[in-house]
């Protein structure tokens, strides 16, 4: 492990561009995260074509720093405007905005910043400790285990934290189905190509995700009127005093731990982590009545958790090649541009890359404190930037970025088609993340299942009864049952409410 760190560090020191990209990525991430409607996913998706210019290490450092920055950025708008810049910052506004209204905006931002950095560093350390041994275990995995992992990835994201399990599962299934377009990986037969030669290589992943996340998001946002809360101005970020910070040490550690653990579960992201750690902070607090009225613990808990989840979600990506969140699913696109297949072999074949990511994420979290302190007020000004200018500019970046990937105008058609699909799904409340994860996991799931069946003489029982496969499939089934139980409970409450109203 130490030799991996040393070689990655020496590579980064000999390539100062790496550090410049981390700084740029973090600023870009904070800027996107702080603007409601422009999430970290959009920030990462937009930059993917540009990573083509750099080497894989620099590309992944850039994307990792964006991910770290965007997760903190959401808290700026949450605290100053009561409008979370990103979903994972929704909890932060519960106590951040009341504090800002009481005249403590600077201190609230400082607490969010310090907690985010602590959570992020905690998550990165866990990532560095957990990914290599997990990857070693994963090296023993065969096709049945990979199939089960892919199933778990889809069911987990479809079941937890969504309003409709059916819609989330449908979204995941659509992603898996779209991934079948193109040449069959086993027989070489063209499937669903309808004699369009462009489709033989399958649906281009990056144009699809940029269309679905960035283009659809911008068009939706341009057509909506979202009122911001009362704006708090004249802000200068003040870090909490060491004594104040230490007073929250248990809240911070517990939340960072919860966030990291939840982040490692495939599909369960920073938003769930933030909400769970907030409710845990309330449960463990000696003064729970202060929550919602301006408690610093109410900022520390979700911020430490959502940034901890960033490191956590990178664990399945780097160790298993399974995305832990929508953002990491998009990062897979950034790796495949350079011909790198994420998975356990990454730590064998591209040790330098993996350890550079660990160092880069640590650096991004530390740099975030400096930039957050000095520049939070400027990031707050981003919210003054009119969407009339920002929205069309993002459309230009989407178009030119996608075109630049392969110098192919047809990639723009793919982006527009997926932009339209993304818009329809969004309007009908279908979550987009399962579709993207399905698109990524589709080829893995298919080839693994078919190979497993061939290896076991088409005996499905032999495939699913292997110990790790069975455990993963049971977990997948349990996550599905959990999601369905939650949905039935919500529906029952709705019906009960309806019956009570109608007398």
């Amino acid at each position: 492990m130490i030799d991996g760190f040393v070689s990655a560090l020496s590579y980064m020191v000999s390539n100062p561009l790496s550090f410049l990209l981390i700084v740029f990525g973090m600023i870009w991430g904070i800027a996107f995260g702080s603007m409601p409607g422009l999430t970290g996913v959009v920030a990462v998706a937009l930059l993917i074509p540009f990573t083509f210019v750099f080497g894989p290490i620099e590309g992944l450092l850039l994307l990792g720093a964006v991910y770290v920055g965007a997760t903190f950025g959401g808290s700026i708008a949450a605290i100053l405007f009561n409008t979370p810049g990103s979903p994972e910052a929704a909890c932060t506004s519960l106590d951040g905005y009341p504090l800002a209204k009481q005249g403590h905006a600077g201190k609230a931002l400082g607490m969010a910043l310090a907690s985010s950095a602590l959570g992020g560093i905690f998550g990165t350390i866990v990532l560095a400790m957990l990914a290599p041994p997990l990857a070693r275990v994963a090296l023993t995995f065969g096709p049945p285990e990979y199939f089960a992992l892919a199933v778990l990835g889809i069911t987990a994201i479809a079941s937890i934290g969504t309003t409709s399990v059916f819609k989330a599962l449908m979204s995941g299934a659509l992603g898996l189905a779209i991934a079948t377009i193109g040449m069959d990986p086993l027989t070489g037969t063209g499937r669903f190509t309808f004699d369009v030669s462009m489709l033989l290589t399958g649906v281009s992943f990056i144009p699809a995700i940029i269309g679905m996340f960035a283009l659809a998001e911008v068009l939706t946002r341009l057509s909506e009127t979202r009122p911001l809360g009362e704006k708090i101005t004249a802000v200068s970020t003040t870090l909490p005093k060491l004594k104040e910070f230490l007073a929250l040490k248990w809240t911070l550690l517990r939340s960072a731990g919860i966030g990291t653990a939840i982040g490692t579960l495939p599909g369960v992201g920073a938003t769930t982590a933030a909400f769970i750690s907030y409710s845990e902070a309330v449960r463990w607090s000696k003064t729970p009545e202060r929550f919602g009225k301006g408690a610093y613990e109410g900022i520390a808990a979700p911020e430490a958790a959502n940034n901890g989840a960033v490191g956590g979600s990178m664990v399945p990506l780097l160790a298993l090649g399974i995305p832990g969140s929508a953002t990491t699913a998009i990062m897979i696109g950034g790796l495949t541009i350079h011909g790198i297949v994420p998975g356990p072999m990454l730590l064998v074949e591209n040790k330098e890359l993996v350890y550079s990511v660990f160092i880069g994420m640590l650096a991004a979290n530390l740099l975030m404190i400096f930039f957050g302190l000095k520049a939070a007020r400027y990031f707050a000004k981003i919210l003054d930037a009119p969407y009339a200018l920002v929205g069309p500019s993002i459309i230009v970046l989407c178009m030119t970025g996608v075109y630049a990937l392969r110098n192919n105008i047809m990639d723009l058609v793919v982006m527009l088609v997926f932009g339209a699909l993304g818009f329809i799904l969004r309007r009908l409340d279908y979550p987009i993340a399962p579709l993207i994860i399905g698109l990524v996991l589709g080829p893995i799931a298919e080839i693994s299942l078919r190979r497993a069946m061939l290896m076991n003489d088409f005996d499905i029982v032999a495939v699913v009864s292997r110990p790790i496969t069975a455990t993963l499939l049971i977990l997948a089934f349990a996550s599905l049952l959990y999601g369905l139980y939650g949905q039935f409970r919500r529906n029952a409450e709705l019906k009960k409410q309806a019956l009570t109203t109608s007398g």
Binding site: L169, A173, L186, R191, L222, T400, L412, L494, T501
Partner: protein, 174 residues
């Protein structure tokens, strides 16, 4: 109510689509070596799943629609609230944005990056409610120039050059 109808319509489209694509998958060539895990195996499994989920979504939405109608008939404030009622979504704005985006794509193809982007941004910022006229005037050209410089000089990435006379024009710049 239109939300439920749209949901039902989309589920029907998915159901019909899954049946249609089942037949497309069924017509794929067979290879004796792969027997039960041929090219159609995985797509068919997914299409069955999509069909079943579409039926589930259909059932859920029909139930909700009936509940919503019952509440309306009883002249009461519906407990089932439609998302679109509160979102402040402006369809005409969206359609304008979508048409502009498709127009931008076509312009990129025929006129190249510089003309298409400057024109797209000029139109886009003028139709949105923003007061600073001078910024509206300058921004499209400045942003186009900055992106062109970034792509061509800094990142050495290609930009569309268009066709015919536009291609010749763009060759002067990149």
């Amino acid at each position: 109510m239109s939300k439920y109808i749209a949901d039902i319509a989309f589920a029907v489209v998915l159901l019909i689509g899954s049946i249609y694509f089942w037949f497309v998958a069924d017509a794929l060539p067979r290879f004796p070596r792969y027997q039960q895990v041929d090219s159609d195996f995985w797509p068919k499994a997914l299409l069955v799943l999509i069909g079943l989920l579409a039926l589930g979504i259909l059932y859920q939405n029909i139930q909700r629609l009936l509940l919503y109608r019952r509440q309306q008939q009883m002249d009461e404030k519906p407990v089932v609230v439609l998302g679109e009622e509160a979102s402040g979504f402006n369809w005409s704005k969206f359609l304008l944005g979508a048409v502009l985006t498709v127009g931008y794509f076509l312009a990129l193809r025929y006129t190249g990056f510089l003309i298409a982007t400057a024109a797209f941004l000029s139109i886009a910022v003028h139709i949105t409610p923003y007061q600073r006229w001078w910024l509206k005037l300058i921004f499209p050209f400045v942003f186009t120039a900055v992106v062109a410089l970034l792509f061509v000089l800094v990142l050495s990435l290609p930009l569309p050059r268009g066709v015919g006379v536009f291609y010749q024009f763009n060759l002067f710049f990149y």
